[in-house]
Symmetry: C2
Subunit: 223 residues, 2 copies
DNA sequence: AAGAGTTTCAAACAGTTGTTTTAAGTTTGC
DNA sequence: GCAAACTTAAAACAACTGTTTGAAACTCTT
């Protein structure tokens, strides 16, 4: 086996974490999968938590850099003008789904990421929040500029829904078995499908929401 | 404390499972929360797995019956004509989000369900597949009838994306903290938001997908 | 080739897991 | 009122968890 112990542990951990979840994956499963000694994890990473962080950091930092780079490119091209929603969606979700198509570890990782997003152990939640802070801020700004007619709160929800669709798109075959046999072998097709769905949802007519009684907030009368 | 031990265990388990996940929730946490003896779980349910199944079955069966009832009502009203996509979406996702708004346990459960869908232990996966089988079949048929212009494979993916958006809509505040402060206290607003997003995505223009090389399948030439 | 620095290894650590056991308590039917 | 059935309780079970230890094995630089 070529790569060093550290990398083998990261690879094995990534694969097992997406399969069994954060808690159910034991160090013994990981070190066995990596053909390493049990103590190797604590030697190289200090603890199980630090190992998990390392698994995420290894690819997540790069992913978010790619997202920002894609956004930078579009904004440079636009020279100050608002981007098209399609471009922003492409920069954020397109990059993600492309990484998910990379059989060389990226696919495994993206499934892990999508899974962890709804299954947040506390330490991982705060860790993700830090890693995402910059990219979220950039994309929020870009979207607000591109869609000034959409209220900010409404947009945040739509962004959230889009993240859900992305997560399921990536987790793919696993959960899809519920719906019946389906072909998820073509990443280009998946990309095209998700993009048109996301943009359809993003640009949908705004829902009519009647003012609510406002429980804990002070009630405001219509001006 | 009024209700009997069995119910108290189910309630405590539901609450703790969504909070810590299937594996990280221990029987001792559950029995402590239910103010019951540790052995009570194995006495009333046989095992931890069976308890988890009971937690799901208690509400999931009812949820899917509601979905089918809603669909039946629309179909009776339509008298053989295809339903509007909006009606089908309403029957499937509207019922779910309404249950998620029910503070009386429904909310907790729906979050648990959304979370488990991407975090599938094997035994829970097969269990969910059984529970969903009928409702999935009914809704697939209704959708195919309502949208004959949409290829079946394309639709299945969109259905899958919609499930993702629903899951995130329900998990709400937890994951949303990533995007910044947001108000998820108004279920009616959430319902309206999700519905217009879903229908926007469902009715989006079909993506152009070029025929792929087809790795393991036999290559097919364009006719 | 000697020796400092790094990495691996088997073994053991205390703590926690789900489950079982055995006995005591409670409710029910007659 | 008294068995029979059902429910609760405390204690112990073996198996497994993440982590630590101290010595062996390796890898370099000098």
């Amino acid at each position: 086996m070529e790569p060093d112990t550290r990398s083998r542990i990261l690879d094995a951990a990534e694969k097992l974490l997406v399969q069994h979840g954060l808690d159910a994956t034991t160090l013994r499963m990981i070190t066995t999968g990596a053909q390493a000694n049990l103590a190797a994890v604590n030697y190289h990473f200090g603890s199980k938590e630090s190992l998990i962080e390392a698994v995420f950091r290894r690819r997540l930092t790069w992913l978010n850099e790619q997202r920002i780079a894609a956004l930078d490119a579009f904004e440079a091209e636009a020279r100050g003008a608002p981007l098209k929603p399609r471009q922003i969606v492409e920069a954020f979700f397109g990059v993600a789904i492309r990484m998910a198509a990379d059989k060389n570890g990226g696919q495994t990782f993206m499934r892990l990421l999508g899974r962890t997003y709804t299954e947040p152990t506390d330490f991982v939640r705060t860790f993700l929040a830090e890693e995402y802070a910059e990219v979220i801020a950039r994309f929020k700004a870009a979207f607000f500029k591109a869609l000034p007619d959409v209220p900010q709160e409404e947009f945040l929800w739509r962004f959230h829904f889009m993240m859900g669709a992305l997560s399921y798109a990536i987790s793919g075959a696993d959960a899809l078995r519920l719906l019946g046999p389906i072909d998820d072998s073509d990443p280009d097709a998946l990309y095209a499908r998700l993009m048109s769905f996301l943009i359809g949802g993003l640009r949908a007519p705004l829902p009519e929401i009647q003012a609510k009684p406002a429980k804990k907030q002070r009630a405001r009368r219509a001006a």
